[in-house]
Amino acid sequence: MLPYTIYNDMGVKNVEEQIADLVAQVAALEASSAGAAVTNTMFAETFYYLTIPLMIIIHAGFLAYEMGASRLKNVLSSGVKNILAFAFMIPTFYFFGWWVYWAFPTGIPGLPGPAGISGIEYANAIALGWGDSAQYMGPNIADQASGVFFGAFAMFAATTASIMSGAVIERIQTVGFIILAIVLGSFAWVVAAAWGWHADGWMVTNFGLHDFGAAGLVHAVAGFFALGVLINLGPRIGKFNADGTANHIPGHNMPLTVVGLMLIIVGFFGFLMACVLVPGEAWSWFADKPATIYGTPITLSALSFNILMAIAGGIIGSWLFTRDPFWMMSGALAGIISAASGLDIYFPAMAFIVAFSAGIILKPCADWLERRGIDDAVGAVTVHGTIGLYGVIMLGVWGAGFPALQGAAGDAPTISLLGQIIGAAVFFLLGFVPGYVVSYILKMFGMLRIPEGAEIAGMDLVKVPAHGYPEWGNKAPITPAE
C-alpha cells in the first residue's frame, strides 16, 4: 500500500486505492458480523438459560400450593414428595427422557421424519450421555444450545410430574410416587411431545395438530395420568361418607396455597417463553423472527397479549360463581391452559373469552368428578386434564385453516377440529393408561398407598424427622430460651 493517496485531476482516488478501500470495508463488515453472530448466539443461550430459573419458580409455587393444601400433620411430607420428584426428574430426563423426545416423533419404530431432526439414529447421535453423543450432553465450547434446550425441557418434565403430585397428597407412598413421577415426567408426556410437539411429530404432519403452549401434551397428559392413579389410590380417609357424599378437607394454610398458585403463574411465563425458538442461529427456523416448536412464526408480543388476557379471563370467570381465592387462582391457571394451544394466534379478546369460559366451567367439572368418588385434593385432574383437552379442542373450533407447519399452500397440513380432537384423544390415552397401569402394579406390590394407621397418625410423624411448626400446639417442644 502506498503511504499516500493518489488523486487524479478530478479529485477521485485511483483504482488501486478504491480497491484497497473496498477490501478494508469488507474486512470491517466481516468483523462486525462475526461479532453480531457471537451476540446472537449469546442472546439465544441466555434466553433459554433464563427460562430455567423462571420455571423453577413453578416449583416454589407447587411447594407452597401443596403444603398449604395439606393438613398440618402431612405438611412436610407433601413438601418432601415435591422436592424429591423434582430431583428425580432431572437425571431420569437426562438418562432417557431427552432421547425419547428426539427418537419417536414419527412413532414406532423411530424412523427419521421429514424435517430431518428426529428418529432413533438422530437421537442416538445427540441425546445419550455416552459415546459420541456425550459431546452434546455436556460442556462443549462449540455447542451453546444443547444444554440450555435440555434444561428447558427438563423443567417441562419436572412441571409435568408436579402436576400429578397435588392430586395424590396425604396418602401416597414416597417411592411409589417417585416411580409414577418418573413414568409421567420422563416418558409419558415426552412421547406426547414427540408425537404432537415436534415438527416431525406424526400428529402434526398427518393431522395438523397444533398445541403451542402444551395444553394437551403437558397438562392433559398429567391431569389424566393423575386420574388413573387416583382410581387405584383411593380417597383420603374421611373424604367420602357412607352415602357417597363428599366432605371438604381443608388445607392448613389457604394463604400459602394462593400465593403458591400465583408463583406458578410467574413461572408459566418462563414455561411459555421456552416454547419459542429464537431466530438467527444455525438451528433456528428463521433468520429474522421467532418460531413455535413447529417452525411457524410467533412473537413474544403475541404471548404477552394473550397470556395476560388468559390469566385475567380465568380469574374473572372463576370468581363469578365461586368467590373462593383457591378457585380464582386455579381459574388463572385454567385460563392460561385453555388458551395455551393457540397463544400464538388467538386475538387477545378471544383468549380472554376462552379463558373466561374455562373459569366458569372449572368448579362444576371438579364437582362432577368428586361426585364420582374421585378425591382429587387440589383439582389437578380438572384444571389440567379437563381444561387441557378443552383448550386443545377450542383451537380446533376457532383456528381451523391455519397452517400447522411451514410450507407452500396445500403442502403444509392445516389445523382442523378433527385433528385437534384426535390429538386430544391421544393425549388422554397417553396420560390415563400409564397412570392407571403403573399405579395398579405398584398397588399390587404394596407400594402405592400408606397403611391406614400411618395415614391417620400423619405422614410427617411417620416419614419426616422434622416438625413443620414446632412451636404450635400443647405438645410443642420448649425452646432453649424458655
Binding site: P297, G313, I345, F347, M350, I353, G410
Partner: protein
Amino acid sequence: MFPYEEASWDVVDGPMYILANTSAPGWFTFIAVVICVVVLVIGQRSEAEKTKRFDK
C-alpha cells in the same frame, strides 16, 4: 379461518391472529368489555346482599 388467501405462512407479513382483517376482533373486544362490566355488576349486587346480613 386463516386471514390470508393462501394457507401458507410464507405470505404472512402482518396481523396473524384468528379472524384478522374481519370485524370479528372488534366484536370479541366488545364482548370482553361486556363480560367485565356484567361480572362487576353481579359481583356488586351479591356482595352488597352478603354484607347486609351482617349490618345492624
